[in-house]
Symmetry: C2
Subunit: 326 residues, 2 copies
Amino acid sequence: MPKRFSVDQYADGILAGNRILLSRAITLVESTLPSDQALAQQVLDQVLPHTGRSVRVGITGVPGVGKSTFIEALGLHLVGQLGKRLAVLAIDPSSQRSGGSILGDKTRMNQLAAHERAFIRPSPAGRSLGGVARSTREAMLLCEAAGHDVIFVETVGVGQSETAVHGMVDFFLLLMLAGAGDELQGIKKGIMEMADAVVITKADGSNEMPARRAKGEYRSALHLFPLGPSGWSPKVTTSSALTGAGVPEVWQVVEKYVQHTQQNGYFQKHRQEQNLHWLYETVRQALEERFYAQPAVQQQLPSLRQQVMDGRKSAFGAAEELLGLS
Amino acid sequence: MPKRFSVDQYADGILAGNRILLSRAITLVESTLPSDQALAQQVLDQVLPHTGRSVRVGITGVPGVGKSTFIEALGLHLVGQLGKRLAVLAIDPSSQRSGGSILGDKTRMNQLAAHERAFIRPSPAGRSLGGVARSTREAMLLCEAAGHDVIFVETVGVGQSETAVHGMVDFFLLLMLAGAGDELQGIKKGIMEMADAVVITKADGSNEMPARRAKGEYRSALHLFPLGPSGWSPKVTTSSALTGAGVPEVWQVVEKYVQHTQQNGYFQKHRQEQNLHWLYETVRQALEERFYAQPAVQQQLPSLRQQVMDGRKSAFGAAEELLGLS
């Protein structure tokens, strides 16, 4: 097989649901080579009219919450009983450092990975969060063009990756453990307020009662926050990947949300806003990359940073100096 | 009096606590004239060694929560019993549109405004949030140089101004009403999670019991969130500007926070991070301003925006096109 195909070959393959060409196109999207990037944009432009027809679900939760088993259980329900085609993507900022990635070990979801209607792709490694977010979003569009009805974007429950995922999905699902102690959850402040649903996982055996109690607590807590512009009040449910209890109910919540927001117009409006947001985000990232890559800026920045941190120079004065260099 | 003074005149006047020169220097900081801006930066650089010695408190809450009366009550306690010197600044994005400003009507706090140890300055009008945030932050530094021990930065409880205020203060105070209905509070999602303390206002008369109940509810809700990097768990109190009940206690909470974070090193570390944040923010704003001011970009942007919103062009493709123009 050749290393690269033509734009038409990629596009036609993707639209025909060819998994190999889909994978290869995602590799292009993840590449940092300018020639790959240019090719990727042409492929994207060509398949763009066939994108947007999936439900995009962000899923987050700290390690230990049982994210993989939950995704496998919910995923098998979708591709099995409901006959959906599902793509599972991931954003993992830690893969920058470790070179590994949260979905890298596909054996964690081997039943789902083996299913013909499921497509699992690990987080791209070795790029900044902005870069990872960009390629994940583009991979999502390619998966939609390949006919997937549901996209899961998984992330890790710590750091800024949640905001990136929240900015590219229709529905944001937060997985929580009952009784693990609030600090142990490690959920960053602000993440709970992004959730359209909270699922208390591992609600089985001796953990069933604590899970039910936690459900009540989170319900009251979320109730204190006013409704967002979607007009949707976040739901709290429990589920067990072990017994399967509560798993179909999670998808019913997602479907209810989609119905609700399609009726009030928020679904479409939200996607338009997300598209615009990514336009401005991409410009911002490029402007900053160009600016900080300049030799004069790179030379002056460390000492100016230090002076600003020490309060010897005002942040604005230092910024002016830097800006004067370019 | 001349329209402009020399750098030394401004700096010496500010350091001597001259209110007129302080006001005039803040006017410079708020000016959009390049010559004023340059002069302002020189003044700032000269007084910089004398800044940073105040406690910076952000105060937010929706209209109707009793913000002015609360600030007046707490302010009079500070400048009176405690002998502090207090500056009250404001960030009001709505003043962009209306031309008015939340502190514009000083008569709302006439006792405090008349006090010799208080300095009240309304929100600068007619600039973007970024511009208002910048000049408020610089005004804060000037007020510190003029010997104020406590700075209040007031904002309105809706929109992005909270994030800007949160990024420039040591302590963030959220005012809430009891029993007004969650939706009526109009507090944007995410704001509660920024709060170091929530104060339920107007806890007097028939409102006292509901306020106490609300206190319990918010306590439980905040308890579900893990501690932030400050290691501080947010406090919830009630207060009445009418009877004065609970007002000194609010200041005790602030002092406890300062003690706590000075002991664990967070106070200083947080300020250094804020300084760095403002350096990068200023650079970003300037880069974006320059970019979007280009005629070719201004010409292409509307049609590209529309194509991105409609899904006819990918956000990244459109960004590439724009970036290619400069």
